[in-house]
């Protein structure tokens, strides 16, 4: 299904070069994202999301962590407004990425900016950011972005489908502890953040409060513990800055 140059341009035009460079720069990140997508697919139906719903979610929402969280919340019986509010909070970090990229996309027409916004993931941000650091030429850089986005997007949707299929072939897969895969994947994502004391304390506060407040209705405990953890971490960070003391290491 590889579409050749739609306007009969030469295949070596910069936009093709940029597009394929973007796609190939993203390949290593696909390897990390693939199991994530497959696990999402296998977990969907056991957690109460239909196969069609799972594919639609990957196609339309396209945001890994929040899709997992939605599954977890669905299984726990959370209401839809809570799931949507949680999605908002979890994906709010993307605003940091877009704040970073805005100077690089300002010159583009709105439909391009909208498409790029839709495709803004942790992985594509990483790939595109490297490209912008390496060479400042913005002329065709949005094609690099498109290449990275489409590589991630097709991989994500395809892996969701593979996961759904595997889940149907091995219906007992849900008893294999794949629910733990979600926890362990998140743990692996959390650990690299734990570099400063405020961050460590924030995460511990959130963990303890999440357990303590687990029985609140609608998973409200999640938001409560998240906001508390952030407030504590931010306070510690600001106190540390104000006192301007060197960090105590033990």
């Amino acid at each position: 299904m590889s579409s050749q140059c739609p306007r009969g341009e030469q295949s070596q035009s910069p936009r093709h070069t940029e597009f394929f460079a973007g796609a190939s720069a993203t390949v290593p990140l696909l390897v990390g994202a693939a199991p994530f997508g497959i696990i999402f697919g296998t977990l969907a139906e056991p957690n109460g999301l239909s196969a069609l719903g799972a594919i639609a979610m990957s196609l339309i929402v396209f945001a890994g962590a929040s899709q997992f969280i939605a599954l977890g919340l669905l299984a726990a019986g959370a209401s839809i407004p809570i799931i949507i509010a949680t999605t908002f909070i979890v994906n709010f970090r993307h605003i940091l990425y877009s704040a970073n990229l805005v100077a690089k996309v300002r010159h583009l027409p709105h439909h391009w900016r909208a498409l790029m916004a839709f495709g803004l993931t942790d992985e594509t941000f990483a790939a595109v950011n490297n490209r912008y650091q390496a060479q400042g030429n913005l002329q065709q850089a949005h094609w690099f972005y498109l290449g990275s986005f489409l590589a991630m997007y097709s991989n994500w949707v395809f892996c969701t489908y593979i996961g759904l299929t595997l889940g149907n072939i091995f219906p007992q897969m849900q008893n294999w502890g794949l629910d733990f895969a979600m926890s362990v994947t998140f743990l692996g994502m959390v650990v690299p953040y734990l570099k400063t004391r405020p961050m460590l304390v924030a995460v511990l506060v959130a963990a303890v409060l999440a357990v303590v407040s687990h029985d609140l209705p609608h998973k409200l405990g999640l938001l409560l513990s998240a906001f508390s953890g952030i407030a504590v971490g931010l306070s510690l960070m600001m106190l540390g800055n104000r006192n301007n003391k060197p960090q105590v290491s033990q």
Partner: protein, 106 residues
């Protein structure tokens, strides 16, 4: 239908967050404290999800060396600290969990 609302709502909030600054092309600046607060968001939210999953896998608090969810999580964290590679962490954590739960029948 419920799933339509769910997916539509998730799309709306996710896309809004990703698009708003691109749409306004950088006419807005966050106060510094908000920028700082945003840095805490991903790990804090993720941990608030993980903690009950692994400490109360059967609905009640289970802080015990016999809890395979908890032990495999500890092993996964150690792996992540040593290897700093997400895939390795997932594989080691899952193998540990499977070994404890199905190998040793914990």
């Amino acid at each position: 239908m419920n799933e339509t609302f769910l997916i539509g709502g998730m799309f709306a909030v996710t896309f809004s967050v990703r698009y708003i600054l691109f749409a306004m092309a950088g006419k807005v600046k966050f106060p510094p404290w908000l920028n700082r607060a945003l840095e805490f968001v991903p790990p804090v939210v993720l941990m608030a999800i993980i903690a009950p999953n692994v400490t109360m896998p059967k609905g009640e608090l289970w802080l015990s060396p016999l809890n395979p969810w908890l032990i495999a999580s500890v092993i996964a964290v150690i792996t992540a600290l040593i290897r700093k590679d997400l895939l390795t962490t997932i594989v080691v954590g899952m193998l540990t969990f499977a070994g404890l739960r199905f190998g040793l029948g914990m």
